[in-house]
């Protein structure tokens, strides 16, 4: 055992802190030794119980361990006394005047050690210790999950950022590892891939430009749209054609559909990279700014009403045909290219005064009901709010 340096009050605070840390480390090692010693003693007792022939040897071992443990306890007591004197365990020296802004490391009641409380680094270190503890907790949790729920292993591999589990663990116990397969696959019907859906919509509606991006990319783009709109010296704001993440749709969270001069629609996918839409919003092609997102609301009445109706359509598609909800939604959105040109299917006018809202609006309600297995759903009709009956 190395000779201990006495940390007198004449020592500079950094040295005292360093020594306190050293002693805490030593204390931890001693505690570990004591635990090991206790394990060995128990083992010796068990062995001698099972094997009476070895009982003498076991007794020798036990006595040896007992000596060692006694020494460890004494050392621990000494170290503990030193730590107590230097104020580590009680935090008594925190308010010492000449501590240079350094404080003694503190052992918290839950066992965590706050090493350095340098004023400059206070937040960082406290944060660091919190981060470490969170990481340890997560590791412990993951280990336990792996141990008790092995069938959820595949889901964990497939979903990058999200822990949403669609089906309860007991439904489909997974015995083979197939990381490339989506956990939502039903044995009878293949869920279409995002790239295929977008390609088919693009073919169906050539007048609509479709682009995709990640969530953070979208918020940057929304801001840049605001500055483009403000610059009225531009004859026409150039539509930035975002390149689709060719080949890699895993992180796509926002789909943007633009019908030139008519609308800009944002659809968000949740989780990112899936084909499950979770929100939709219509905007004027003039609009730009941070409020432009799938849960935002346009400043214009016409688009506000279309967005409200779109929420209902989305809920309907999600409940009636979840695997194809995105396809149906995108087709339905594209049918709005004629928002400002198609007359109402009931009154045959384009603009109508809505008495309750006191607004002049074009037909903003396009029925979304799907008819049985008809793939050629064209969503061709449109109604004013007052003209649409309750069941369309």
């Amino acid at each position: 055992m190395e000779p201990q340096q006495l940390a007198g009050s004449g020592d500079a605070p950094p040295k005292q802190v360093a020594q306190a840390m050293d002693r805490l480390g030593r204390a931890a090692r001693l505690i570990a030794e004591i635990r090991l010693g206790a394990d060995r003693i128990l083992e010796a007792l068990l062995v001698s119980n099972e094997n009476p022939r070895l009982s003498e040897k076991a007794a020798e071992l036990t006595l040896g361990e007992e000596d060692a443990m006694r020494r460890h306890f004494l050392d621990l007591r000494t170290v503990g006394k030193q730590l107590e004197d230097s104020g580590v365990l009680s935090g008594a020296l925190r308010s010492r005047g000449n501590s240079w802004g350094l404080h003694m490391p503190l052992v918290c009641p839950d066992g965590a050690v706050v090493a350095y409380a340098w004023k400059r680094q206070l937040a960082g270190q406290a944060g660091a210790s919190a981060v470490d503890r969170a990481r340890l907790a997560l590791k412990a949790f993951s280990d336990q999950k792996r141990r008790f729920f092995p069938q959820l292993e595949d889901d964990q591999l497939n979903r990058s950022n999200n822990d949403t589990i669609k089906f309860p663990p007991t439904k489909r116990p997974r015995l083979s590892h197939r990381p490339t397969q989506s956990p939502n696959i039903d044995s009878t019907e293949q869920k279409p891939m995002l790239a295929d859906i977008l390609k088919s919509i693009q073919t169906e509606a050539p007048g609509v430009t479709i682009s995709t991006c990640q969530r953070l990319e979208w918020s940057k783009r929304a801001e840049s749209l605001a500055s483009t709109m403000n610059d009225s010296s531009l004859e026409q704001p150039k539509e930035q054609i975002l390149s689709n993440l060719s080949g890699s749709f895993n992180e796509v969270a926002v789909i943007e559909l633009v019908a030139s001069g008519v609308f800009r629609v944002l659809v968000s996918l949740h989780p990112a990279g899936s084909t499950d839409p979770d929100a939709v919003a219509f905007f004027s092609p003039n609009e730009g700014g941070s409020y432009l997102h799938s849960r935002g609301m346009s400043v214009h009445h016409v688009f506000k009403h279309v967005t409200e109706y779109a929420d209902k359509a989305l809920q309907y598609f999600q409940s009636s045909d979840p695997n194809k909800a995105l396809s149906h939604l995108l087709s339905w959105i594209c049918s709005h290219q004629s928002l400002f040109t198609k007359n109402c299917s009931k009154c045959s006018k384009l603009l109508a005064m809505d008495k309750s809202l006191a607004l002049l609006l074009p037909p903003v309600h396009r029925p979304y009901l799907l008819n049985s297995k008809d793939h050629d759903q064209d969503f061709a009709t449109a109604y004013h709010i007052g003209c649409s009956s309750y069941d369309v």
Binding site: E235, G261, V262, S284, T341, L350, M353, A358
Partner: protein, 221 residues
């Protein structure tokens, strides 16, 4: 920039235009449910004529003799010039008027002010105003500007604006005003302007509209 249509009031044959018409037109606007008054508006127009440097020499033929300068209510920091003969429009900072005054290459011949009331109606903005000849404030016409905020494409908004125009005309007729509003039809392509609406489009509309207003006012006098 949202699309706009500009109309002027054409009094019936034999009737003269009075300020009463302005009040009646505002009453028509206010009769629609949901319309709210949104303050006043004011634009102005200057008719410039070229001042030859040397009176004895003939004026160079490539320079325009007449120039219209327009200050729009929604662009206080800008000034637009329209050369109708050459079909050219220029956008400049509002301080160019000081430059014009100093240069004296063009002199303001006469001036027209537009002023009146502004209304908000859902996604539409209406501006009804008198067209006043400066300096004697003689009423030359009544104009109405209609703006549809959600759209900037002239082509895509055509049908919406047409239907609005019909609704407006029917309301005006039903209130028995002594005349009707006529829309200013302009071929923007001739001025090199595209489908996306800009202040240049507004300048051209005003230029054209004022000519019609003055013509109709002269006819009725």
């Amino acid at each position: 920039m949202p699309v706009k249509w500009l109309m002027h009031f054409q009094p019936n044959q034999g009737t003269t235009l009075t300020s009463q018409v302005m009040a009646e037109a505002c009453a028509v606007a206010e009769s629609f449910p949901g319309v709210s008054r949104d303050g006043r508006w004011r634009s102005s127009m200057t008719f410039y004529r070229a001042v030859p440097r040397d009176q004895s020499l003939p004026a160079p033929s490539d320079l325009p003799r007449d120039l219209i300068g327009i200050s729009l209510h929604d662009l206080p920091n800008e000034y637009l010039f329209v050369m109708r003969s050459q079909r050219l429009i220029l956008r400049a900072h509002s301080s160019v008027q000081t430059v014009m005054d100093k240069l004296q290459s063009y002199k303001g011949r006469f001036f027209i002010n537009f002023e009146g009331l502004q209304y908000k109606w859902g996604d539409f903005k209406l501006r009804i105003g008198k067209c006043l000849y400066n300096p004697n404030e003689a009423l030359r016409g009544i104009v109405m500007e209609v703006e549809y905020l959600p759209l900037s494409s002239i082509d895509k908004s055509q049908r919406v604006m047409e239907e609005f125009y019909e609704i407006w005309r029917e309301a005006v007729a039903s209130k028995l005003l002594a005349g009707q509003f006529i829309n200013t039809e302009v071929n923007f392509v001739e001025y090199g302007l595209g489908d996306s609406y800009t202040p240049q489009h507004t300048a051209v509309l005003y230029g054209m509209c004022v000519v019609q207003v003055i013509a109709s006012s002269n006819k009725n006098q």
